[in-house]
Symmetry: C7
Subunit: 74 residues, 7 copies
């Protein structure tokens, strides 16, 4: 990760982020932590899809399947 990416994610800890995964899944929640492989932990996560949203609580997401992360304040 570039320093810019790392700084952006660091500043987003505690804030809402949108995470898109390979295969089309999309989650929204509060970023709790991340590492350099983009493994991330999200609190109060909701899976968002065309059919509505579904509450998942806290989730550990495997970095390898992350397409992109977007801070809500970005």
């Amino acid at each position: 990760m570039s320093e810019t990416a790392q700084k952006l994610l660091q500043e987003s800890v505690g804030s809402t982020v949108l995470v898109k995964l390979r295969g089309g899944k999309e989650l929204r929640g509060t970023l709790k932590s991340f590492d350099q492989h983009l493994n991330i932990v999200i609190k109060d996560a909701e899976e968002v899809s065309a059919e509505g949203s579904r509450k998942l609580g806290t989730v550990v997401i495997r970095g390898e399947n992350v397409l992109l992360i977007s801070p809500a304040s970005g």
Copy 2:
């Protein structure tokens, strides 16, 4: 894995977790163990799908195919 992710999973050993796999499969069961690659062992696992659920017993899941893990208490 970040320390937060590791701690979260460590606290979930013995509790119910939801595991989503690449390709759309979804399992629910009691987390028995995990390693840093997200290889996990789940007890009393059920595969959950739109067509209902199917009991699988204990399963060893290959970490590479894990999309996310969500502790039921998360």
Copy 3:
């Protein structure tokens, strides 16, 4: 693999296991051996699908394509 996973598989050698592969294939048979990459050998294997089952005999399965392994006694 965690020690729990290794022990579980070790105890399943000689017993029936269910193996799910990426792409949807599912096999059932007697576990003969495995290694830490989840490369496995199964005896008296049957490929199980919605259209019925097909006997394959002994098979060597490449670990990279394994989604999960479930001991029948699990």
Copy 4:
């Protein structure tokens, strides 16, 4: 990355780029940073699809899923 690729991206920082991802997603925005794995940060990003565009703000994109990057001035 070849020096040519690195130089091209370096010159595009601050300018609009088009990014195509595996699975068909396409984003347009201002390149903020990149590293040698093509992990990139884009500002004022929009996801562009046949159904129209959707504003995403700042996004961190995982290099592994990048198909190509095209500077708008290219």
Copy 5:
């Protein structure tokens, strides 16, 4: 590969094997050689599909795309 897998394949050299590849392709032929990545050479290979079979002669198969190998005598 476990020793069991290696021994099984070693004993199958010169005999007919069934090879399943990612993406659904299936080949049958005489195993000529293999290495620890499951790269294999098959003689008198036939590609078998729902539409019938097609003779391919000798083929070199990339191990990474192998799902499983089954000795006909297994």
Copy 6:
């Protein structure tokens, strides 16, 4: 890359090449540079599809997603 591949690509710098990507995308343009992972830079690139072509200008293509490269003079 074999020396033959490297030499062929080296001789194609400045000439038109056809690049096929995983997932079916196809681009045509002037090869500007490449490295040993087949990361490539193409000038005056056009994406060619059944629905016609679309000008992309200069593009940086991630080698991992390249299926093949064909020099127009090949």
Copy 7:
């Protein structure tokens, strides 16, 4: 690659080979060179599909996407 595979490909340099790629593409042409990752160069290549064939000239094929190579004389 096993020695058998290497020898087989070495003997096929200058002869016609059939190459099958992940995703279903199929090419036929004269093998010019290969390396241990199955990166290959083919001369007078034709892409063969259900809709007919298309001349591509010389092509550099990325080994990672190769399913199998079959010498025409195999």
